[in-house]
């Protein structure tokens, strides 16, 4: 079998919240607890691996049916809390190897489950909750779409194990009939094909790459550093409209997502007749 599932997401969740985050009415794979970030009590949510997951195809840190519906439930619960002050921040701690691939998952509508998580996160963002994604490990495909990609600010640790992609390297190699090495070479030439977080940062999708942090075994100073970055991200998110436009505004985006910008400008010019 493959390597044991990552525990990085859980470690960072524990480091930020000082808690295990187990819920009475939810699977062990979704952890929820609050973390003091600046003046805010931010609601942190992590999806973690559980080798005893009742769904066998979601035992290695994949985001499965139970995980996705629980994310939707927990985010909506936060959304429904009576507000004493400004809407509180949500922090998605991301370390997900993919969505769960399986026959049961398709039968039972994993696409709907993941869409429910997306809907909850996007609705929280639109309601004014600063939504921050903190990438500490793998941020793959449907796992990222359902847990993190609706964030109005995305932060990542600058570490080799932090990866973003539409498909795991092994699966992409099999499907495109390439070797993992060939895919690696391709990623060096074609930035959106790369897996590493520094390449991802070049696409302008990241609000900040947090450098010089021990991602594997964070010490007190590492955690404080990340906490400070989260506080800045929260303040920045509060200062702008609750959409995703920040992702297209950086110098990096203007270069490598020039086509995304050009489509928007030209479509806007033609949208209304005349």
């Amino acid at each position: 079998m493959s390597a044991p599932p990552s525990t990085r997401g859980l470690r960072w969740f524990q480091a930020l919240t000082g808690a295990e985050g187990l819920l009475p009415d939810a699977p062990r794979t979704v952890r929820v607890a609050d973390a003091r970030i600046g003046a805010d009590l931010a609601r942190c949510i992590a999806v973690v691996a559980d080798l005893a997951n009742r769904f066998p195809r979601a035992r290695a840190g994949e985001l499965g049916l139970d995980e996705a519906w629980t994310l939707a439930q927990q985010v909506r619960r936060t959304l429904a809390e009576p507000a004493a002050g400004p809407p509180r921040p949500l922090v998605a701690v991301v370390d997900v190897s993919s969505q769960a691939y399986g026959r049961r998952e398709e039968l039972l509508g994993i696409h709907l489950a993941c869409a429910a998580a997306v809907d909850a996160y996007a609705s929280a963002r639109l309601a004014g909750h600063p939504l921050i994604a903190l990438l500490v490990g793998k941020a793959m495909s449907g796992g990222l779409l359902a847990h993190g990609y609706q964030a109005n600010r995305i932060l990542a640790l600058d570490a080799a194990a932090v990866q973003v992609h539409a498909m795991s390297q092994e699966a992409a190699a099999r499907i495109t009939h390439r070797t993992v090495e060939e895919l690696g070479e391709l990623g060096e030439r074609i930035v959106p094909m790369a897996y590493d977080i520094r390449s991802f940062a070049r696409l302008g999708l990241l609000w900040r790459l947090i450098e010089g942090v021990n991602a594997e075994a964070p010490g007190v100073a590492d955690v404080e550093r990340v906490r400070a970055a989260l506080a800045e991200a929260i303040a920045d998110a509060r200062a702008t409209p609750p959409d995703l436009r920040q992702r297209l505004q950086s110098a990096e985006a203007r270069e490598l997502r020039a086509a995304s910008l050009s489509v928007r400008q030209r479509l806007a010019a033609q949208w209304d007749e005349g």
């Binding site: 998952e105 909850a120 495909s141 391709l186 999708l205 995703l244």
Partner: protein
Amino acid sequence: MIALPASFIELTARERARAIVDAGSFRELLGPFERLKSPWLPLQGVVAQADDGVVVARGRIAGHPAAVAAIEGAYQGGSIGEVSGAKIAAALELAVRDCERGAPVRMVLLLETGGVRLQEANLGLAAIAEIHAGIVALRRHVPVVGVVAGEVGCFGGMSLAAALCSRLIVTRQARLGMNGPEVIEQEAGIGELDASDAPLVWGLMGGAQRYATGLADVLVEDDAAQIAREVRTAFEHPPAGRTTEVERYRQRLAAIDPQHPPTAEGLRRLWSSEDLR
């Protein structure tokens, strides 16, 4: 003489978009002459098509201002790259802007896609997240109607987009799922799923099954006129709201034993569409 219904599935994306809007109202935006192509495919030796496989059009639906984004399944499997994804996301964003200005736009998504285009990987995934954001934002103002007709079906991150639509129209030929059968077979083994077993695959994720289990709202024949009619009608209905019915689905899921999952037929009894309506 009885006129045979005109197939919708056999139409190109452009013809499908034209069939959806009121006669004479079709106006394509960013058409092929704009030559908005993928900047990434030529770097990998793939010929880039001049519209990147997505047709965006304005028009009217039942007399109301409308927009259609139609994915061409015949080009790169309807995959979402930077440009094709940005066309859909930008259309949604402009519709949101119009709604906020008090000028609602009826938005229709004709989904025929395998999901992210692997040659543009992270930019396809990013565009899909922006499409999701656009649907959720627009749905607060007006219904967003999705159609999955077939041949390709609707997979990957775009299956989430289908699920986010206020109403979803499918045919029997359609398939809707997060992971395509070939990917599941490859990743989980043929013991998990034999992708060549068509009855099994359609039993899991075919349009009729999705409709019968309440995961789609309307099941139509492959008939262009009927599909256009159902799209018009869909805007008059309350939204399905499945993605907000969290407790209902959590309870349904809790009642499932993963070691003894229901058959496709069994799930129809457990999650009958009548139960949801």
